[in-house]
Structure formats: structure tokens, C-alpha cells
């Protein structure tokens, strides 16, 4: 019995690490720019497709593809924000959300034309570790560790680098940051780029673990929503905690109530939290 629960716990943690990695970029963009990026799920899948294409086409190992793919997404995000989204960034929610939805439709359509919607994945088969009855497939474990590492990297960037401090400053008070000589539009573009980069890294990892198809872009976006609401906006620890909570809730919920119910639990948890504590379990007031 305890081995079974240990397995469920382990699965939940692995899932949670991926969710955290998906959500942390989304949460950063939402928290700093006050923009809900409806493109986030498609960014993840785009990176997944690129990783698969690099693997099947040129035999590039996914771990090696991770960095260039993430950098490519960084550039895409940076220029999208600089060229388009910055123009309406201070307008009401409906405008920015509709704009990113329109951009997402374009990206989604292009992906379907370029890559076709057939699910694909990278199968590495690295073997597995077994502790008694608890099984840890190594490809999943590697994806989890790298997802946590990427999340940690973003934390280091935000805490340690000049750009990171500028992003945090803009998030706290945009006008004051502008007065201190921070070029806010550039910081916005860099933030959106970093968000896309995290989605890119995550997509490369996701290709190892799950089939990549455009059908799941909406689901991924939904997970990012839920994690943000659980963990609060714009902080790396919040997204990490939210991701792990969601992973565990889905894993244990699936175990107890059946796998179909698992996705519903996340949404139910989110609605309850929205009603009771919209700043998230770990969120701080005053940042909205």
C-alpha cells in the first residue's frame, strides 16, 4: 500500500515539475505585463515539434536541442512583444487577451499546416530505476530534473541579473521604474521573450514524455491558468508551488476518483480559490 502511494506521489511530483515549468513563463508575463498570453500552449507545442523534427530529421539529441529551441522561442517572443503586443499593452484585458488569441490562431493554424496534427514524440528509452515496487522511468526523471533546473535558472535570472532586477522593478511599479531610467517597452519585450523561452524549454522536455500534437495546446494553457491561480502571479516560487500542488492533486485525484476526474479537480480547485483567495495560496497583495 505504501509503495502504491509512493508511486502516486512520485508521478505527481514528476507531473508537477512539468506543470511548474509550463506555468512559470506564463505567470511571469501575466504578473509583469498584465497580459494573459493565450499563445503559451502553442509555444510549448511549437518547441515540441521543433525538438521532434530535430530528432527525427537530423538525429539531434533532445537535450542538445533544448537550448537552441528555447533561444528560438525567446527571439520569437521578444519580437512579437516589441512589434505588436507593446502597442496595446496598457489597454483593458479584453483587448490584450483577444489580440494574443488572434495571434495564437495564426500560430496554431501554421503549425497544423507545417507539422500536421498527428501526435509524435521522441522515444529515448533510457531505462528505469526501481526502488522495491516504485518505478522511476529515467526519461521522465530527466525531464523532471531539467524542468526544475530551467525553473531554477529563471529564478536566478530574475534575482541575479541586471535584466532580472529591471523586470522585478517594472513589476513592482512601472512608473517609478521608468523614472529610474529603465526602458519599460524593452523590459516588456524581454519578459515576454523569457516567458516564451520557458515554454520552449518545456516543450522540448514534453516531447520526451508525452505525444506532441496541436490538440493539447488548450489543455496546456488551462494548466498554466490553474497553476497561476493556485500559486499567485509573477513569482517563480509561486509557480513552482502551484505546479507541484496541481501535479499532486491530479495524481492523487486520479488515483482515488479515476483518471477522467483528474482534470476536473484542477478546475474545481481553481474556481474555489478564485472565489476565496484570488491572490493565490502564496500570493501577495498589492501586485495586481
Amino acid at each position: 500500500m505504501s509503495a502504491l502511494y509512493a508511486q502516486v506521489l512520485l508521478n505527481g511530483l514528476m507531473l508537477g515539475a512539468l506543470y511548474a515549468c509550463i506555468a512559470v513563463g506564463f505567470s511571469l508575463v501575466w504578473g509583469v505585463l498584465n497580459v494573459i498570453s493565450m499563445m503559451h500552449g502553442s509555444f510549448v507545442i511549437l518547441a515540441g515539434y521543433l525538438t521532434c523534427a530535430a530528432f527525427t530529421g537530423a538525429g539531434i539529441h533532445p537535450f542538445a536541442a533544448l537550448v537552441p529551441v528555447a533561444l528560438l522561442l525567446l527571439l520569437l517572443g521578444y519580437f512579437l512583444q516589441l512589434g505588436l503586443i507593446n502597442r496595446v499593452v496598457s489597454q483593458p484585458v479584453l483587448t490584450t487577451l483577444t489580440l494574443t488569441f488572434g495571434l495564437d490562431m495564426i500560430l496554431y493554424n501554421l503549425m497544423n499546416v507545417w507539422f500536421e496534427a498527428t501526435p509524435r514524440r521522441v522515444t529515448l528509452d533510457l531505462g528505469r530505476l526501481e526502488f522495491g515496487e516504485v518505478v522511476l522511468p529515467l526519461d521522465r526523471a530527466a525531464a523532471m530534473v531539467l524542468a526544475l533546473a530551467m525553473t531554477g535558472l529563471l529564478y536566478v535570472i530574475l534575482r541575479g541579473s541586471r535584466l532580472g532586477r529591471a523586470i522585478v522593478a517594472v513589476r513592482m511599479d512601472r512608473d517609478a521604474a521608468a523614472l529610474m531610467g529603465i526602458r519599460v517597452p524593452r523590459v516588456y519585450a524581454a519578459t515576454f521573450g523569457l516567458g516564451a523561452m520557458m515554454a520552449g524549454a518545456c516543450g522540448a522536455l514534453l516531447a520526451l514524455v508525452y505525444p506532441i500534437t496541436t490538440n493539447v495546446t488548450g489543455q496546456l494553457l488551462g494548466k498554466a491558468f490553474i497553476v497561476c491561480v493556485i500559486g499567485g502571479l509573477g513569482t517563480v516560487p509561486g509557480a513552482l508551488a502551484g505546479g507541484l500542488v496541481l501535479g499532486l492533486v491530479e495524481s492523487f485525484g486520479g488515483h482515488w476518483f479515476g483518471p477522467q476526474v483528474a482534470p476536473l479537480l484542477g478546475f474545481a480547485l481553481m474556481l474555489v480559490l478564485l472565489a476565496v483567495k484570488p491572490t493565490g495560496l502564496f500570493g501577495q497583495r498589492g501586485y495586481e
Binding site: W30, N34, I36, L84, R87, V88, P92, V93, L94, T95, L97, T98, L99, F101, G102, L103, D104, M105, I106, Y108, N109, L110, V113, G218, G222, F225, V229, Q260, V261, P263, L264, F267, A268, M270, L271, L274, A275, P278, E288
Partner: protein, 315 residues
């Protein structure tokens, strides 16, 4: 807001004429077109209903609601389930409208406490929850296989006309309600809420009650239209009924026409349906990208909608 201003300058005299003329054009479509044209007219009426519905909460009250897909899906399933249980078709539609209104009234107090992004997300999640419920509650909804609804007896001509006039009746009801709200206390209160909710509360607008009223109004006609749609196409599945695409497309229609006015939603829905129908036919592989490009262009070049354009020319 600009749309509302135009509606008011166009005046009480001009407005019913334009809307009435448009209804006549749709209603006479069997006379000048084949069944394909009648189908398009039916879609225009359907989306007109959805756009007018969204306008209550999104246009007048200024709350970025993405619950349209949830209302339509719930209405479609409620209507289909009632009909399969032996309830006469039109009674099933009415029941669906009542059920959706009830759910909106129950959910309203929870999610209308949220503002901005949080409200947007709360309302989008209603669509997701509906879709997950419909896929998994297979005893009631048929699960992922979907649900068949008995076709109406009669030839294709009769069916096409029947559903055109059914949609038009719902459209007239939604339009009449919109005009009543637009000129009444509720519309005034909702506009106050859209401009500054705290200030509105301060001067005595019962904001919570008004918002819930707007949310219920934005659900009830969607429920009827969803149920009628299910009877029309004869088959519904979770992903089509609870559609994220629909839930964003309808606000886009209203933005295209001009939010917070009577005519805006009618103009926007007609424009987008006709545009889509012409684009769809020619670029099958790229229709979604083109719709996306239209949305992007709309945000940048037509922030006040088509009605706003008129105003800009005037001034």
C-alpha cells in the same frame, strides 16, 4: 462606449428601422436564395443571438466574459437530453434556456466577484469544466461519442426554413430585451459599472444585483440558441458544444461591431459570419489563420468597432 454614443445619436427613430430592416432581409432569404443562403442566414441569426447576449455582460457592464461557450454547450446538452427524454422540441428549448439561466444565476455570485483577468479566467474555466463534464458523465451525455438528436420530420426545405425562423424568433427576443435594457435603468446602471464600479456602487447602483442580471441575460438566450442548434444539426459532441473558439469569437464579433450598443453586435456578427463564409470557402487550410489575422487587424485598426468608424468619419 463609442458604439453606445452612436446608437444614441442615431436616435430612437433610426435604430428600430435599421434592426427591423435587417431582420426582414434575413427572414426573406428563402425567397431570394437557395438552402445554402438560408443556412447562412440561420447562422447569422444564431451568432446575432450570441453576440447580443454577450453584449449584456461584456458590452454594457464591461466584464470580459468568456462564458458564451459554456452557455451554448450547456443549452445544447440540456435541450438534446430533454428532447431524447421525450419532451417536445420547443418545450425542450425553453427548458434549456431556463436551466442555463439557473446555472448562470448560481455561478454569477461566485465569479462576478472577480475583476479583470481573474474574471476572464473564471469564465473561460466554465467552458472547460462543461467540456470535461460532458466527456466524462457518459451515462447522461453519451461521453466523447456525443449525443444524437432526432431529426425533425419534413423535407430539407422545410427544415431549413423552420430553423431559420426559430433562430429569428430567438433573435427578436434577444433584440427586444437589449433595447429594453439599453433604454432602462438596468442599462444605465451597467454602463456606470463599466465606467467605474466603485463609484457606481457609491452613488447607489446595486452593482452585484445588476451584474448578476446581466450575466443571466447573457446566458438565457445562448441556452435557447444552443438547444435549437442541437436540434438543427442533430448531433453534439463535447468539444463542439463547449467550444473555446466560439467563446472568443463572439466577443470578437461584438468588438468588431461596437460594444455596448444595440446595433453593434448585429453588425459585427453579420460581418464576421459573411467574412468567414467567403474566406472558409476559398482557403480551407488557412481559415483559422485568416480569422486570427482579422482579429489582430481589428485590435490595431478598429478599436471602436465598425460603428466607431462611422463616428470617426463624422467628427
Amino acid at each position: 462606449m463609442i458604439g453606445a454614443a452612436v446608437s444614441r445619436t442615431l436616435g430612437s427613430r433610426g435604430l428600430p428601422w435599421v434592426a427591423g430592416l435587417w431582420l426582414v432581409v434575413l427572414a426573406l432569404s428563402p425567397l431570394y436564395g437557395d438552402n445554402y443562403i438560408v443556412k447562412i442566414a440561420t447562422f447569422v441569426a444564431l451568432y446575432g443571438v450570441l453576440a447580443l447576449s454577450w453584449n449584456f455582460i461584456g458590452g454594457y457592464a464591461g466584464y470580459p466574459s468568456f462564458a458564451t461557450g459554456a452557455f451554448v454547450g450547456l443549452g445544447a446538452y440540456a435541450g438534446a437530453i430533454c428532447q431524447n427524454a421525450g419532451v417536445p422540441m420547443i418545450v425542450a428549448w425553453l427548458l434549456a434556456a431556463i436551466i442555463v439561466a439557473g446555472v448562470a444565476a448560481a455561478m454569477g455570485p461566485v465569479i462576478l466577484r472577480l475583476r479583470g483577468h481573474y474574471f476572464a479566467i473564471g469564465s473561460i474555466s466554465l467552458v472547460e469544466i462543461g467540456s470535461v463534464l460532458a466527456s466524462n458523465w457518459s451515462g447522461l451525455t453519451g461521453g466523447g461519442e456525443g449525443l444524437n438528436v432526432r431529426f425533425l420530420p419534413g423535407g430539407p426545405d422545410f427544415i431549413a426554413r423552420f430553423f431559420l425562423y426559430a433562430m429569428l424568433v430567438i433573435l427578436v427576443a434577444a433584440l427586444a430585451t437589449t433595447i429594453a435594457v439599453d433604454r432602462g435603468r438596468l442599462g444605465f446602471g451597467l454602463r456606470c459599472i463599466a465606467q467605474n464600479e466603485d463609484a457606481a456602487e457609491m452613488v447607489g447602483v446595486p452593482s452585484t444585483r445588476y451584474k448578476i442580471a446581466a450575466f443571466v441575460l447573457s446566458g438565457v438566450f445562448c441556452g435557447a440558441a444552443g438547444a435549437a442548434y442541437a436540434s438543427w444539426v442533430g448531433y453534439i459532441a463535447p468539444a463542439d458544444a463547449f467550444s473555446i473558439l466560439l467563446t472568443v469569437k463572439v466577443p470578437v464579433m461584438v468588438l468588431l461591431g461596437g460594444a455596448g450598443s444595440v446595433l453593434g453586435p448585429l453588425i459585427g456578427s453579420a460581418a464576421l459570419v459573411l467574412l468567414e463564409e467567403t474566406v472558409w470557402a476559398r482557403f480551407l487550410d488557412y481559415h483559422q489563420a485568416i480569422l486570427g489575422a482579422i482579429i489582430v487587424a481589428l485590435i490595431f485598426f478598429l478599436p471602436g468597432g465598425l460603428l466607431g468608424l462611422r463616428l470617426r468619419w463624422r467628427s
